[in-house]
């Protein structure tokens, strides 16, 4: 608890017991739901940064644990694990909560809690089309020590991440992030294009970025027999992302860009493993961003929760 208190900004003795009780209540509810068997395989694409138009199935909860390892010029390398909880409220609305942490290999305050993000995605069109739009809105309450790099915008460069944690974690940012997600499926391939606009609510200019993704399962048909390590469960793809400057200077000048192949294994029991080595494309970029993670789909979470009350 002491250690936790030290990580979390604003976590004092007064708030600790109430937060602890709330956390226990949430854990109890989730444990009761998990005790009921479920099996579901999500149809989501394996991207770490880009989004497709495929939302969480209604009533399903996906719990995801991801990490990123980054090399750092002018400072020690870092690893930033984060947890995502993604819930399908309806077939056209998915909501998601992120909890971000970070560990830097050296310097003071090596391990820190860096904040939370709350995201919503909406599908405005009720049928599939050649290009399917999704609207994305996220509120971020993070510190400058957040290094999950879930998006790259404006003139974000690797040098922003070189500040020591004790210094960076003192600076809080409240940001609104919006995305226009465009995505298409064609003959088993998914093509996704995201246009990102991010605004720091502290009177800073809008920053822009992009993310592109392409992916395909290794085998399109399913085999009759259940299998874990077979081609139909493997999805390969790649994504590319980077900044596009700000509203004052919309350009590639001073921005960073990355390309990252991706591999994912979707097991029939609802567990998915993902891996992606990302490579910086210019001097402003981190040389290597290694991402990996695991997710678990809890089918019918909403119905199971309802049965508890």
């Amino acid at each position: 608890m002491h250690r936790f208190r030290r990580w979390v900004p604003g976590f004092t003795d007064e708030t600790s017991s109430s937060k602890f009780r709330i956390a226990l209540l949430l854990l109890g509810i989730v444990a009761a739901v998990l005790a009921q068997p479920s099996q579901a395989v999500a149809q989501e694409t394996p991207y770490f940064v880009a989004y497709s138009h495929h939302l969480e199935e209604p009533g399903n909860l996906e719990i995801e644990a991801y990490s990123i390892y980054g090399t750092q010029k002018g400072g020690p390398d870092f690893i930033a694990p984060w947890i995502e909880m993604e819930y399908g409220v309806t077939a056209w609305w998915t909501t998601e909560l992120y909890i971000d942490t970070q560990h830097t290999f050296g310097g003071p305050d090596r391990t820190v809690f860096t904040g939370t993000r709350f995201e919503n995605r909406f599908r405005p069109l009720m049928h599939e089309h050649w290009i399917n739009p999704v609207l994305y809105v996220e509120f971020e309450n993070t510190t400058d020590a957040d290094k999950t790099l879930k998006e790259v915008v404006g003139q974000d460069t690797q040098f922003d991440a070189a500040d020591p944690n004790d210094e960076a974690n003192r600076s809080h940012a409240h940001e609104i992030e919006t995305k226009l997600i465009l995505s298409s499926d064609y003959k088993g391939w998914n093509f996704s294009e995201n246009f990102i606009g991010e605004k720091n609510l502290g009177h800073e200019a809008w920053e822009f970025g992009y993310a592109l993704g392409v992916s395909r399962p290794l085998r399109l048909e399913a085999t009759p027999r259940p299998c874990n390590f077979c081609r139909e469960n493997v999805i390969l793809g790649a994504e590319m992302y980077g900044g596009l400057g700000t509203v004052k200077s919309f350009s590639l000048s001073g921005t960073s860009h990355y390309v990252a192949p991706i591999a994912a294994l979707q097991l029939p029991n609802g567990v998915t493993f993902s891996f992606s080595p990302g490579f910086g494309l210019n001097d402003n970029s981190h040389t290597l961003l290694l991402r990996w993670g695991m997710s678990y789909e809890i089918a019918g979470f909403g119905h199971k929760l309802r049965s508890l009350f």
Partner: protein, 152 residues
């Protein structure tokens, strides 16, 4: 503390309430539910490449259990979503069912399944059509096809 607790419980109640809801079906003159019959007329002539193929049906059954069974039930007789053995579904053409799988019925919580490849959606349709229409006598005697083929 109390406000946080109330907020937490309200959130979970909202999730639970959103998961609820029943829907009465209306049928067209073929006896097909209107949600399915809204598919474009051209879909009625689409042929299922896996129709009648035992391997395709078995693969469809496997996929059904991965993607559909949680709502439609392990035996496809319906759980939180409709009974797929009912005439309103079984009277539809394979093309109409394939269209519904791809597009979903989002206003009634059926998600679009365009994220799984077209081949797999046809395999699911082959499995659903293999179940046939359930009559009262077949329902009482039935060994669910789902169980039947799963045990092979």
């Amino acid at each position: 503390m109390r406000r946080l607790l109330i907020l937490t419980l309200l959130t979970f109640s909202a999730i639970a309430a959103a998961a609820a809801g029943r829907h009465e079906h209306q049928s067209d003159d073929r006896g097909v539910w209107v949600e399915i019959a809204q598919a474009p007329a051209s879909t009625r002539s689409w042929k299922n490449p896996y129709e009648g193929q035992p391997d395709g049906i078995a693969a469809g059954e496997k996929l059904f259990h991965q993607h559909c069974a949680d709502c439609h039930g392990d035996d496809a007789r319906g759980k939180h979503a409709p009974n797929l053995r009912s005439a309103g579904v079984q009277n539809a053409t394979p093309g109409e069912l394939a269209w519904l799988l791809r597009n979903g019925n989002m206003t009634h919580r059926m998600p679009p399944w365009a994220g799984i490849p077209e081949q797999r959606r046809w395999q699911i349709v082959a499995f659903i059509k293999s179940l046939g229409v359930e009559t009262k006598s077949s329902a009482s005697n039935a060994i669910p096809a789902a169980t039947n083929t799963a045990s092979r």
